[in-house]
Structure formats: structure tokens, C-alpha cells
């Protein structure tokens, strides 16, 4: 994905929620934010590779 199309707080939020559910434990906002960055990096990287 082109990073210009990323909207913080919307893009990748579903993946973040799935990660939180699969994790099985309540998470701090800091941990969630770090994971969100990982998800966004992945989304941008996948598109770049394609």
C-alpha cells in the first residue's frame, strides 16, 4: 500500500483488533500502539514488494 493512502486510526485498525483478540490478554495503550506501527509497516511494505 502507498503510505499516502494510510489514514492513522483507520488503516490497519481491524488487524490491530484481531491481534488484540488473539493475544488473549488486556494490553496497554503503549503496547497496542507499538503493534499498530508494526501492522502499518507491514501494510506499506507488502505493497512496496508487489
Amino acid at each position: 500500500m502507498d503510505a499516502r493512502n494510510v489514514r492513522i486510526g483507520e488503516t490497519g485498525l481491524e488487524q490491530l483488533i484481531q491481534w488484540l483478540r488473539q493475544n488473549g490478554r488486556p494490553q496497554s495503550l503503549e503496547a497496542l500502539t507499538a503493534q499498530y506501527i508494526v501492522i502499518l509497516k507491514e501494510l506499506v511494505r507488502v505493497e512496496e514488494e508487489a
Binding site: 503510505a3 494510510v6 490491530l16 488484540l20 490478554r25 502499518l40
Partner: protein
């Protein structure tokens, strides 16, 4: 086909005469049986029953009659339907004489109407359209919205501003700008393509002015790459950088974005309690019975209980198990949404109070009154400094001693727990007095915008072991809500001290033997401050009126230097402050402020720290309410 007198149709049956007769009799029997059924509804009866009934009427055998009935039915297949179920022949018809029932009308069902209204309302905000159906696969669909609409919605882009032209301010023609390379344009800050409008004569138009994008001086655009995203405040974040770097530099802003995304999610898929977040649909369910059990448990324990104790004692959930943290989060989240429960915990210790639990603190003064008494603290008249070592020392005032309260000033606030939830009102404390091996359940009430905070619940300890003027030391412990209170013990000292006699609603001096080191200047003793007994225990509402309290204390404690017609009172500041703190809390800074606000109070230039009070002349009143000062009270 003739019309039946009852409104139904008279049927004509086919077949031989006997078959027609039999068919009519069968029809009458079946429609009589289903007389309350709908005209279209099928009425069913077994052939055996019909044969038995008719045979009984005709005095024949049912076995002989059954084939004849079946033949009559077969001859009138448009009226009767024959079917076999488990070897039994079933005959069906309806009151209108049809062999089949009405087919349901599925052209526009109720279920369809729910989702596909005939006249749908216009969609003003797409965010308000909520569906509980989730797509099986997650798709990322960026929403492209032009800057024109963003600007109208208040999300103005960086370089473009909107100006509503008026008749007095002619519209500036936008200057042409060199096109920006697409690769450098940021995703959300891309300026709208401003079409160069033809030069417009500045002629006032009668129509409503329309917003027109106008260029303003463009700031240098940061060069951004294809891996750079923009936060809502325009900050560029390059996702190529390591996660730790991004968290260190943009952590706060990114956390705010994520928290906002969760709170604005219309499906509320993620919920939070304190600083923890979890998926809403994976939480354990706590029903009404669970809440009742938890409430009964807390009331039985007679004090606010931590979540861990509730889980272990009520649900046998032990820390360390896989599900414990989720269970704990679910419990806290559920209780936080119930009116019968109140969170009185802090970071690291979730304490829950329940409706019906005895209130902490004095019953002799209302929380609303204390909040107003201590409002001077949030108005900037707090003269204390935050503690740096977790310990605060403080001299008790008479009011604090009387009601067992302490001000939530900057000093005490620095060692007290902070509220965990946004609208948290209070937190439960456990204050231990090691000198007496006793523990007191206390409560800190957090300040609000216009009400001060305080700590209460120490009434028994103060009145049993201390006197006003004692220097107490409150220290934080390793426990989140644990504190110790201490004071310097001395040999017994006997003194006549001010005491509020509630039954007679007056102040008196009573002999007391105390064992705590005190500041003599702050001890309301008869020896030093004999006039204190003349103070009136004003109603709490009057004590909130600082002018009433000031005037009363001046008139009671001050030296009358004027005449009866033109009285003038003189008092030392320290004595004035002590007397006021008998009636209500007040910092010295606040008292100085009040004295400077009213010209009736003014400093004695000849004596440092002394003040005059010269009341405005009043109309003559019968003088029957003033108590004479009494220095020789032996009570």
C-alpha cells in the same frame, strides 16, 4: 356456482348423484369442524374418521363407506386434496372450497423493509451508518476526500484556507502555483487543485456568499517518501524507521491517535479500563446474579474490596491462571459501568465500593460543604509545596481535629494516589497508626474544577489521641493505598481546651490531658485564647460566607477600640487565623487575600501583623445579641 346465504359460495360437486351427495356431506362436515379457520386455511381430516362418522349416521359399515367417499373425493379434486401419511389417507379442503392453501406473499417482507426502506432518509454522515455484519476478509479501502470538503468539515489542509467573500472584501484571485511532484506530496496534506478562476469584478452579489479556496503563503513542504504517513496534526512519520525510534519520538501522538480510534469506533469493538484495552466480544459475561453476589460480598466485608479478592473469594479465580487477567479486566470493566458500584482504587489496586456500604468520613459535616470550604485551594490560595520524600508534616487546625479531615493541598496531593478513571470521585485509603497499633479506613476526595479536595476518616484517631496544634506526619507506604500517621508523644499535659458542645450548640473550654507535642500558638487553650468561647458555631451555610465569618471573628476576638456607635476592632493576624480555623478551613494566603479585598479591613501600620476592622455604620438596632467577653469561664 351459487352464493351461500352466509356469504360463502355454494359449491357444485362433480361425479354421480351419490358421489355429489357424499362430497357435499364431507365438505359440510369438514368446514363445520374448521368454522373458525381462515377461509384460505386447509382443514384436514382422515378418511377413516369421515367414514366412521358418516357410517354411524347412515347405519352402515365404515369399511363399505370408505371406498365410496374416496371415489367422491377423487371426482372433486379441485375441492379436496388426498394425501397419504403413514398409511392413513388424509383429506384436505378449505372453507372457500379449494384443495390448496394460500401461498404466502413474499414480495415485500418485514425483514426486507427493515433493511430496505421504501423511502430511505438521506445519509448525512457515513459514520452514522452502523452495521453489525463484518466482512469475512479485511479490506483496506482508503477514503479519498478532496481538500475542499475537508476544509468545509473543519479539517483544513495546511496550505489552503477558506475565506467567505463579502461585499467589502473582494476575492483575491488565486496565484498560480507550480505543480508539486506527486511523489513528494503528503497523503493528507495534498492541496486541492485550485482552479484559476477568471478575474471577477468586485460587484456585490445578492446571493449567499460561497466559500472560495484562497491561497495563503505556503510554508516549505517537508519532503516525504512513499513510506511516510501523516498524523492528524500533520506530523510526518516515516515507517521505515524502527518501531522503538518511532515510539520514542511520536509515541504520545500515536497513542492518542489509537485511543481516539477506539473511542470513536461505532461498534465499540475495543473497550478500556484505566490504561488497559481489550476486545469487547472476548470479555466474560457478568449477569445480574453475579453483580448481586459481588455486592453482597463487598457489603459483608464492610469495606471497599480489591478486584483480586472478589475474583478469588467469589469466583475461585486465582492469579496466575491463563484466564485470570481477562476475567479481572472484564470484572473491572463491568463494575465500572454499574451504578451500584463505585471505583475507589488507583493505579495498581482496583478497589470497589458498593451501594449500601457504610460511608467513610464524618457524618457531622457534608461532603458538599467541605468541597466548598476547600475551594480556595483550587483558586490559587494553596501555600503548601509538594513533598519530595513521600512524607508530609502538618499542624492540625481546630476544624480538622473536630471533623477528622485534612486538606488535599499540594503537599498531601503529592503523596496521595491519583484518580485512575476520568470521573473518579474518591479513593479509599488505609492509614495505620503504628504508635497505637490501629488502622483507619479513610478516603481521599479528589478536587474538581471548582471544589477543593480533602482526606477524611481520621475523626476517631484525632479525637482520641491528638489535640489541635499537634504536628502530624503522614507517610506513604509501599502499598498503593497504604499510609502511616505519626506524631511526637510527650508526658501528659493538662489544659483547658476549646470544645464544641453539640447538645447545647456552643463552644466551651474543657479540661483535657493530652500526650502529643503541640505548637502552643496553635493550641486553642483558654489560657491563650479565652475569647474563643464566644464564637458562635455558625451554621455550615454561613461558614461558607467568608465575609460573615471574618466579621464575626473580628467582633468576637478583636479588641474594640471604637465607640458603640462607630465600633472598630483590632486583632493580630495569627489569632484571627486560628479563630477562623475553628469555624472553617482557610489558608493564611486566602485570609490575606480576603483582608485585602474589603476596605473595611486594613492593616495596622504601627503593629506588624495586626489588622483593623471598621464596619460600615449600621442603622440602630436593639443590642440584645452580643455576648460579653468572658475570660473567667471555669467550665
Amino acid at each position: 356456482m351459487a352464493v351461500h346465504p352466509g356469504g360463502t359460495q355454494q359449491l357444485e360437486f362433480a361425479g354421480s348423484t351419490e358421489e355429489q351427495t357424499l362430497a357435499r356431506r364431507v365438505f359440510e362436515i369438514m368446514t363445520g369442524q374448521g368454522s373458525l379457520a381462515a377461509r384460505d386455511a386447509l382443514i384436514r381430516q382422515s378418511l377413516d374418521n369421515l367414514a366412521a362418522y358418516l357410517a354411524a349416521q347412515d347405519n352402515t359399515l365404515a369399511e363399505q363407506l370408505a371406498p365410496r367417499i374416496e371415489a367422491a373425493i377423487s371426482a372433486n379434486s379441485d375441492v379436496f386434496k388426498r394425501e397419504e401419511r403413514d398409511g392413513t389417507v388424509i383429506v384436505s379442503t378449505s372453507r372457500r372450497g379449494a384443495s390448496s392453501g394460500r401461498q404466502p406473499d413474499r414480495r415485500h417482507t418485514f425483514a426486507q423493509r427493515l433493511y430496505e426502506p421504501v423511502k430511505p432518509l438521506p445519509v448525512e454522515d457515513i459514520n452514522n451508518i452502523v452495521t453489525t455484519i463484518r466482512p469475512p476478509l479485511t479490506t483496506v479501502e482508503p477514503v479519498q476526500i478532496s481538500n475542499y470538503w475537508r476544509a468545509l468539515a473543519g479539517q483544513a489542509p495546511l496550505e489552503v484556507d477558506l475565506v467567505v467573500p463579502t461585499a467589502e472584501t473582494p476575492v483575491e484571485a488565486p496565484a498560480e502555483e507550480a505543480p508539486v511532484p506527486a511523489a513528494e506530496a503528503p497523503a493528507m496534506a495534498t492541496p486541492a487543485v485550485v482552479e484559476p478562476e477568471p478575474a471577477v469584478e468586485a460587484t456585490p452579489q445578492p446571493t449567499v456568499p460561497q466559500p472560495v479556496p484562497v491561497q495563503r503563503p505556503v510554508a516549505p513542504r517537508p519532503a516525504v517518501s512513499l513510506t511516510t504517513v501523516l498524523l492528524s496534526d500533520g506530523t510526518a512519520v516515516d515507517l521505515k524507521r524502527p518501531v522503538d525510534d518511532l515510539m520514542a519520538e511520536f509515541g504520545a501522538a500515536l497513542q492518542a491517535e489509537v485511543a481516539a480510534a477506539f473511542s470513536e469506533d461505532p461498534l465499540r469493538r475495543v473497550v478500556s479500563f484505566g490504561a488497559q484495552y481489550y476486545s469487547a466480544d472476548a470479555l466474560p459475561n457478568f449477569g445480574k446474579n453475579d453483580l448481586r453476589r459481588i455486592r453482597d460480598y463487598i457489603i459483608e466485608q464492610a469495606e471497599p474490596m480489591p478486584d483480586v479478592s472478589i475474583l478469588s473469594d467469589v469466583y475461585r479465580e486465582r492469579p496466575g491462571t491463563n484466564s485470570f487477567e481477562v476475567f479481572r479486566f472484564g470484572l473491572n470493566y463491568r463494575l465500572s459501568r454499574e451504578r451500584d458500584f463505585e471505583f475507589v482504587g488507583m493505579e495498581g489496586l482496583s478497589l470497589w465500593s458498593a451501594k449500601g456500604l457504610p460511608a467513610i468520613g464524618s457524618k457531622r459535616v457534608k461532603a458538599s460543604d467541605l468541597g466548598q470550604f476547600y475551594s480556595f485551594q483550587v483558586e490559587g490560595f494553596d501555600e503548601t509545596e509538594p513533598s519530595t520524600d513521600g512524607t508530609v508534616s502538618h499542624y492540625l487546625t481546630p476544624f480538622e481535629w473536630e471533623y477528622g479531615v485534612l486538606a488535599m493541598n499540594a503537599a498531601f496531593a503529592s503523596i496521595m494516589p491519583q484518580p485512575l478513571l476520568p470521573e473518579q470521585r474518591s479513593a479509599a485509603l488505609r492509614i495505620e497508626a503504628p504508635q497505637h497499633y490501629s488502622t483507619y479506613l479513610a478516603e481521599v476526595r479528589f478536587p474538581t474544577v471548582n471544589r477543593g479536595g480533602w482526606i477524611w476518616g481520621l475523626e476517631d484517631f484525632f479525637r482520641e489521641y491528638l489535640v489541635p496544634g499537634t504536628l502530624i506526619t503522614l507517610s506513604a507506604t509501599e502499598e498503593a493505598n497504604g499510609f502511616t500517621i505519626a506524631y511526637e508523644e510527650i508526658g501528659g499535659v493538662e489544659e483547658k481546651l476549646l470544645h464544641f458542645e453539640e447538645k447545647r450548640n456552643r463552644f466551651v473550654f474543657m479540661p483535657v490531658t493530652y500526650y502529643a507535642a503541640v505548637d502552643e500558638d496553635l493550641l486553642p487553650s483558654q489560657r491563650r485564647y479565652g475569647k474563643l468561647r464566644n464564637l458562635k458555631p455558625l451554621p455550615m451555610n454561613d461558614r461558607k460566607k467568608t465575609d460573615v465569618v471574618l466579621e464575626h471573628v473580628f467582633e468576637t476576638m478583636g479588641e474594640q477600640l471604637g465607640t458603640k456607635e462607630e465600633p472598630m476592632y483590632w486583632i493580630q493576624f495569627n489569632e484571627l487565623h486560628l479563630a477562623i480555623t475553628v469555624l472553617r478551613p482557610m489558608s493564611r494566603a486566602y485570609l490575606e487575600y480576603l483582608l485585602g479585598q474589603d476596605p473595611a479591613f486594613y492593616a495596622d501600620e504601627a503593629t506588624v501583623g495586626a489588622y483593623y476592622y471598621k464596619p460600615a455604620p449600621k442603622a440602630e438596632e436593639p443590642d440584645d445579641t452580643v455576648d460579653d467577653e468572658d475570660l473567667d469561664d471555669d467550665e
